[in-house]
């Protein structure tokens, strides 16, 4: 199609908009990219005033930690190969070996196996081989970029960050499962009922969506701390203290998230024509059977999108988890506050950076895999109004 002359843009406008976009992309990605670079350097390099020092890390290199030209080339080749395998070979293997109808399970197992295989090859097998190669090639094998993983080691192994990781995993899994189960039922009910009651439920949910979370936590705290005494008459001796319990936090986060979840799922359900469940009803299904066997199979995109946003809420939450969980059950995000509150030495600060990058990495993967779902989720609420 030829663009009409009137719609063609002057060079200056095209150039200006491209330059603006380039600037935006730089600003958007730079802070994240930069903390990733910082996390691999010794403290002197990481907080150096000269950006080149941060990138090349002379201090880190001087201590014998670094990558040579050969390391970099081999690493890039490995990454390229891994990406190609993930794009071409993995889908084929999943399609061949997963049982029919359970391709989701196949994908989970396939990507887990792929991830573990990649880590083993990249971090366990490759380094010793490259060490030998570097020793043989002389100047090409000398390190040019300083790089050290010691801070990651300190964070994950010495400071037991893996405990926080496991706690995060428990909380996010719980929140996503429960809020999707409860939310899809409610979203379906609200989308298919045009009653005034449904309207009011949605409006109240909208008000709840706007509440500051600290208001709610102010209500939970006294009850949660004293819950053992309050529940004793009902539950007897083994009444739990809810404060510090991941299960209690899961319930809280699910409920806080519920208004948003039902609004979003409702808008997805509304896109599915009502004739579909009417047809199922004519064939003799109950409402619940129609929901389970006719609507759910076509609802997966909406459920995945909503699940992603529930995951983000639970994973990113600071306020609720930091107030309602005690130190040993702490999730990753509040745990990082411990680092910069005690940042007495610069080593602590770089460890905090390494912890921050560790928290961000899964999110990065998430955007890569689910970009389309995230975009559709962001626009779902808006387009419906």
């Amino acid at each position: 199609m030829v663009t009409p002359k009137a719609l063609r843009q002057p060079m200056s406008l095209r150039f200006g908009s491209a330059a603006f976009l380039a600037a935006w992309c730089f600003i958007a990605a730079f802070p994240i990219f930069w903390i990733a670079v910082m996390s691999f350097k010794t403290p002197v390099d990481a907080f150096a005033a000269n950006p080149l020092d941060v990138v090349f890390g002379p201090e880190t290199r001087a201590r014998g930690n670094g990558l040579s030209v050969i390391d970099i080339l081999a690493g890039l080749a490995m990454l390229f190969l891994a990406a190609r395998l993930a794009m071409r070979w993995l889908p084929r293997m999943v399609a061949r070996y997963s049982p029919p109808g359970l391709s989701v399970v196949g994908w989970i197992i396939g990507s887990l196996a792929f991830g573990i295989g990649f880590i083993v090859v990249f971090f366990v097998i490759l380094p010793p081989i490259l060490d030998v190669v570097n020793g043989m090639t002389g100047p090409l094998g000398a390190p040019v970029i300083g790089l050290t993983a010691e801070h990651y080691e300190a964070v994950w192994v010495e400071n037991d960050f893996w405990r926080n990781f496991v706690n995060s995993l428990i909380v996010t899994t719980g929140v996503v499962t429960v809020s999707l189960t409860v939310g899809t039922l409610a979203g379906y009910g609200l989308a298919r009922s045009g009653s005034t009651l449904a309207f009011w439920i949605l409006i109240v949910a909208l008000i709840f969506r706007a509440l500051p979370h600290s208001v709610l936590v102010a209500g939970y705290l006294p009850v949660f701390i004293n819950s053992a005494e309050m529940l004793r008459p009902i539950l007897g001796e083994n009444a739990p203290t809810l404060y510090g319990q991941p299960l209690a936090v899961i319930a809280v986060l699910v409920s806080i998230n519920q208004p948003f979840t039902i609004w979003m799922l409702r808008s997805f359900f509304q896109n599915i024509p009502a004739e579909l469940d009417e047809a199922a009803r004519v064939d003799g299904c109950t409402h619940f059977q129609a929901f389970r066997w006719v609507i759910m199979p076509v609802m997966w995109p909406g459920v995945i999108t909503t699940g992603l946003f529930s995951f983000l809420l639970a994973y990113n939450d600071f306020l609720v988890t930091s107030l309602l969980l005690d130190a040993q059950n702490q999730t990753m995000v509040p745990a990082i506050a411990g680092y910069f509150n005690r940042e007495t030495t610069t080593t602590d600060q770089v460890e905090a950076v390494a912890a921050a990058v560790s928290i961000t990495a899964p999110l990065f993967l998430l955007v890569m895999v689910f970009q389309r779902q995230i975009v559709s989720g962001l626009t779902a609420g808006a387009v419906k109004g």
């Binding site: 935006w24 802070p31 903390i35 979370h213």
Partner: protein, 339 residues
Amino acid sequence: MKFRTFAAFVGPSIFLMVLFIAAPLVTVFLQSFQLNQPIVERVEVETCTPGFPAQKCVTEVKTQPLLDENGNVRTTSTWVGFESYANVLQLDRVAEAISDGRPGRILTIDFWKALRFTLTFTLVTLPLVIGVGLAIALAVNNLTRALRGQIIFVSLLPFIITPVIGALSIRWLFIGDGILTSLLESWLDRDISMFAQGWTIEAMMLFYRVWHVAPFAFVVFYAGLQTVNQDTLESAIIDGASRWERLRYVIIPHLMPLIVFIALIHLMDAYRAFEEVVGFSSQAHRITLQWLTYDYLTPDDSGNRSISRASASAMLTMVGIVILLIPLLRRSWRDHRGG
């Protein structure tokens, strides 16, 4: 759909929302008029130290908390009316500052300081978020299709990142002699420390929020741009509308519902700003309303949480939310009755 089926579908969700949102709201409302205090008793304690020629004995009256059989501190709650609100608002100091003719001193009181910053924060970021989001959307729409996916990917990063960590990542660029601080220093040729005074921290917090939310506005506006009526655009061209006029009179009116949507969501979220204070450790200079409640809720040095004051400040925060929501609720009520 019969009422009973509807109730079965919606029931679990309603149950959760009532138990964990509505009920806490009521308790917070009640707590804000109550004061929980440990019961203390005053005991005379005689402490003697060996001395010459006689022991030195001092009798003093100590207050100590009463313990119950499990060794916990016993507390009572008393109704104190608006005392907690008065403690948070400190109206006497406000009146004093005004009668002294120095209204600036009101901003030394935590609540008013937080209110001032929260409102500035919300109102300044709002036009910036909408403007930047719209600009990115228009520029991406202008781009060849092949590159759009990558741009959206990069743009989503600031939005998806954990808020505390996003704020930290910007802070680490400036902290001490960080690269951006030294860059600024070499430009302006003077010594700069970004964390020593309030307004620089405030600027960084504003920047962070725009950086974090603009992608959301961009994605929504970009989706809206795909549905602009091409016929209207063409007739505008035939009528001789310039590029700017087309934007002003065709595209922006088309996007108006989305602009209102983004504005509402942003007002709600920015009013609840909290993570910025944690990320930039700005509590010495700038605090937000939600952070104030959080601060009352965290145990102080002696391990006490001032629940009633937290409840009072939470209820005061709510007032702002209610004011924000009234126009929205009125509109949807009108839509519902009309539709």
